[in-house]
Symmetry: C2
Subunit: 652 residues, 2 copies
């Protein structure tokens, strides 16, 4: 049997605090604390209870409507900045709106509508001061590819468009619901590397789609993967029209050149911001003059004058179609959310501001919900617009309102002028804006720093390019989740030893992994100090930990000259424990006892200590064998060992 120390042996060691001073937390309080930490890590309503009801309500309203916050102290000085920024992003929004709408296979004017209502809503509800809002390429193609699987845009354009509106409705419902339910946590599971890979793949796929416009083709495949698209393009060389290609290449060179100018001289951001509009105007005039549509340069066609008509009656909730609309809305909604929040956060970080993910979701949700009632399709925070907005010196979300006003002007007066826009101009604009999204430098950096992150990104990219966008997205999420689960399933364990301290004090600050500090000295002959690495000890790793601890003990027994008498488990890193975890500890304790080895435990955290008491494990191991620090534990082991040696009683 193991040497069992009498109680008074440990008098000079600090007792571990197994339960908080106030005793066990009541269930309600524990659950509430857990929920609060899970869903309200930022605790937006801190100190609200102390306020009188009227002020409390006002603060809640102000929390949900940030415009009230910045509106109160808005100055003319800020307005001039916002006006400039707003006009600049409007000039970018016109060509982008038309382009992305064609990417989504819906009438181009819907792209313009989508740059009018949603930015207005965001100006009131949004918490970011930089975000430029509008349709984005990724979501446009994603919606098109999902809805196109059910109804082809070329077969029944009206039904198709109605389904696109309906999907925007579901996007809005989903986003707002996630925001109200504080489920921002879901977006966290789309990791940055996953998004990088997915975006890169999507950019490649979108550029491939632009071959239609750039080659002046009349028809095109509905597939998006690289093999199908290239096969279609090279099997249909008779569709190619050299006039479009020449024009497209000229536009593309111009756009890439202005982009390079902006990169070299960030002050000249307006050059690249205005260039798409310039391309559209030049293209319009050119195709109008030479009657392009009769000479191999297809044009956009009719664009109705007037602002957004209502689309409430167009939403389709029949059971036949609601499924596909819901799928398109939910999938593209999650993606748009991840993209928008990521864009907002990265620009907020530059200005050292904070973005509330859950509040942003509510704003995005309402934006899409109201958008779906007013002939808009899915919108989110767009990278290109946000970058231009930021560089143009925007001060508040007012710049979105200015953009919105400009779009209203365009819709009321100028829209019909754009009917001559050559499709190839749009293709050139989309291609140019996609070039920056294939972040090869970022991918190389990921490869250098973290192979697993690189694998996630590569899986997403290849999935999109060689199969479908959904495949890529699913792969990225699945691989990310698997990695997160592996962290839980395989917590590291390590043998600790004493890192010599300059002052000579032997406390467990100095107990460190021997693999990391090869100079560390073994704690005490006959004592094995094992650290159970971070993470919860739970069903997912109980079996693993049992095997791993057994192996550490076997290795120690095989290697050491002294008999192993004590195993000290350092539980400091263990954040939680569940019943299978406790069961495992009980079994490990039983096995060690049969070998004549005594188990001690150091520094269980409060959540773990609670469970150990409740389940009766503390009585199994003995409360006097639970210590605050490894130093205390080893000292107690040494004391008992020496006692038994002097007394002539073998410890085993």
């Amino acid at each position: 049997m193991a040497a069992v120390a009498p109680e008074n042996d440990h008098e000079h060691h600090r007792r571990v605090n197994l339960l908080p001073a106030a005793g066990r937390r009541p269930l309600g309080a524990a659950v509430r604390a857990g929920l609060k930490d899970t869903f309200f890590p930022d605790d937006p309503f801190r100190g609200l209870g102390a306020l009188p009801p009227a002020r409390r309500a006002w603060r809640v309203v102000r929390y949900f409507v940030p415009a009230l916050d910045w509106g109160a102290e808005y100055s003319l000085g800020s307005f001039w900045y916002d006006l400039l920024a707003g006009v600049t992003i409007a000039s970018l929004s016109i060509p982008q709106g038309i382009s992305y709408a064609t990417l989504a296979s819906i009438p181009p004017v819907i792209g313009l509508y989508s740059c009018f209502v949603p930015p207005l809503v965001y100006a009131v509800m949004g918490s970011s001061r930089n975000l430029g809002v509008g349709p984005v390429a990724t979501s446009s193609l994603l919606v098109a590819s999902i809805i196109g699987g059910k109804v082809k845009a070329s077969d029944d354009p009206q039904l198709y468009t109605q389904l696109v509106f309906t999907s925007a409705f579901f996007t809005g419902v989903l986003q707002a619901a996630l925001g109200f339910l504080r489920l921002g946590i879901l977006v966290d599971f789309m990791s940055r590397p996953a998004i990088t890979g997915f975006m890169g793949g999507t950019a490649i796929v979108i550029m491939l789609q632009q071959l239609k416009g750039l080659l002046g083709m009349k028809h095109f495949t509905t597939k998006t993967d690289v093999v199908s698209v290239l096969r279609y393009v090279f099997h249909n060389t008779h569709q190619w029209q050299w006039q479009s290609t020449v024009l497209g290449v000229c536009f593309l060179i111009f756009l890439v050149f202005t982009e390079q100018v902006r990169r070299r001289r960030p002050k000249l951001f307006w050059v690249s911001a205005m260039s798409p509009l310039l391309v559209v105007i030049v293209g319009c005039v050119f195709s109008f003059l030479i009657k392009g549509d009769k000479h191999g340069i297809p044009i956009v066609g009719t664009l109705k004058r007037g602002i957004n008509p209502s689309s409430i009656s167009q939403l389709k909730f029949q059971s036949e179609y609601v499924g596909v609309a819901m799928k398109a809305g939910f999938v593209s909604g999650m993606l748009a959310l991840a993209e928008g929040v990521a864009v907002g956060r990265s620009f907020a970080a530059m200005k050292n501001e904070r973005i509330d993910g859950n509040k942003e979701m509510v704003a995005f949700g309402l934006m899409n919900l109201i958008g779906s009632f007013t002939s808009c399709y899915i919108t989110t925070g767009a990278f290109s617009k946000t970058a231009v907005n930021y560089h143009a010196g925007c001060r508040t979300a007012m710049s979105n309102a200015v953009m919105s006003a400009c779009m209203a002007l365009v819709l009321l007066a100028l829209a019909p002028l754009f009917r001559h826009t050559p499709l190839v101009a749009l293709s050139a604009i989309i291609t140019a804006s996609m070039l920056g999204l294939v972040k090869h430098r970022e991918l190389r950096r990921l490869y250098a720093v973290d192979k697993a992150d690189f694998a996630v990104a590569a899986a997403a990219l290849l999935g999109v390019v060689f199969h479908t966008m959904i495949t890529g997205l699913a792969l990225a999420v699945a691989v990310s989740l698997l990695r997160a689960l592996l962290h839980v399933a395989r917590p590291p364990t390590s043998k600790l030893a004493l890192v010599p301290s300059v002052s000579g004090a032997a406390d467990d600050a100095s107990f460190r992994d021997v693999a990391q500090y090869p100079s560390a000295a073994a704690a005490e002959p006959g004592v094995l100090v094992l650290q159970i690495g971070g993470s919860a000890v739970c069903f997912a790793n109980a079996e693993y930990l049992r095997e791993r601890i057994a192996r550490w003990v076997d290795d120690e027994a095989a290697a050491g000259e002294d008999d192993l008498v004590y195993v000290v488990l350092d539980m400091g890193g263990v954040t939680a424990i569940d019943t299978p975890g406790i069961e495992m500890l009980r079994e490990v304790h039983g096995r060690l006892e049969k070998k004549g080895v005594k188990m001690a435990m150091t520094n269980p955290r409060i959540e773990v200590a609670e469970k150990l008491v409740l389940s009766g494990f503390v009585e199994v191991i003995g409360e006097s064998w639970m210590f605050v620090s490894n130093g205390d534990a080893v000292a107690a082991c040494r004391y008992t060992l020496q006692g038994s040696k002097h007394g002539g009683v073998p410890p085993v």
Copy 2:
């Protein structure tokens, strides 16, 4: 700006070991070490390289065929024990085999076949010395419910039976593949509470199915949920036959009584082990004498004499059926694996033996694969048989071989005698054996110790009872996975303070959570020591940790009288970090710097330190601000603070 300490300030502090002594591990070695720890935690082939080739091969063979291990030193003494145990479990296997086959809606003789071949295979391959192998109720009903969704047993019994064989084939393939690929990790994700809940729900559902036999009904619903079954039973009172009910209740009382006897006196285990066979024999004689089938007591009917015929030609791989067979095989295979391994482990724990999960999977896989070629359906380690085997004093897997031999005798000579078995006897046997599976005590214990575990069990149970078995299983796995993910997504953070040490040494052993040790004293005015709780710092929690750290800093700044000058991050519990995690740390550092607060870091583990160096984060924070222990870090902060105070320069 923050007070930046000159290099020589830290001379008296221990430097953190950022990279292992041998420099950065090469990619290959790191990946190999990671894979080994993930898939071979028990490292079965340790020290194999040192052996000559012949002995090495022999050891590998012995690893996969444990019978060679125990067979070499098998003695006659052991055999007598195994003989007794084998005969006892055979007497249990006959009624169980027939019963579970009827539960799976296949001819009863297949249940007997399944008690002949699979136990033989397991006797050779299995690593457990207690496990009794055979069909089990859960898998039987699960296979029936999945295949019954495609082909009804009453419509086309031959096709149905063929699909059951095919599903056993896929079960075998899946289990063997998982074992060879060392994917025991997948089974770990079915937590014990999830299995408890699922089994409890299934037991209830199975008992409801027995109402057919107990009420002597000729037809029955194919649904399994409680609402449908009860509605059917009470809408079809005209089918009830009181003769069956009277007989059934008598049998049930007898079986429950013998079970109670065994519980009170474990020595009398053979009473409850033999009682099902007794019930069958009495039932046979009784129904033969009174011609039961003509007086409201349906019987089993024909049972062919002879051992297992080959069923290779019966396996169905046509695309029309292969899907459902695969689904049934995979789902029930995973479940059978989880059940079998759990049963094996819990009995091994009593004898302090070790079960190798991956080896067990290979054994189960081969058992089902060979079984599917020899007219057997899915088998696994059965709880009731294992318990009887254990109590009967079995020594090795030889008891399974003995049972197999007994079954061969029965099949060759006695099978036709069982044709008079009343169905109600089988229903009584099944009902009695299911009573013990609704573990209400275990559920109550879960509720007391861990509400979340209870929720998992309850979800599984209710899912099975009120919807379908698949729903229950999916719910259990989904909730379990969600919990595991939450552990990663919401790592605890805590503020540390100094727990007074008896010896007076102020090393960071003594830095503990203030919430747990309210008596702990603040480390040093102006210094906040934050512990990032266990788990990896990764994409899933980067946003959360950013918010949480910001809130700790805000709270500290609001509460403290002194200005906050240093934030020390204790990284000891962080087991891994990925690029989004590093990005988060970089941002936190940037924000703190803007507030004039300097960040220090203590004790990053080897995996984390490697990444911090590779990504350049160490240069951001400054290598001299990374410490081995919190004690060192706080001492350095104090030193710099005093220096700046004495020099009259404010630190902020």
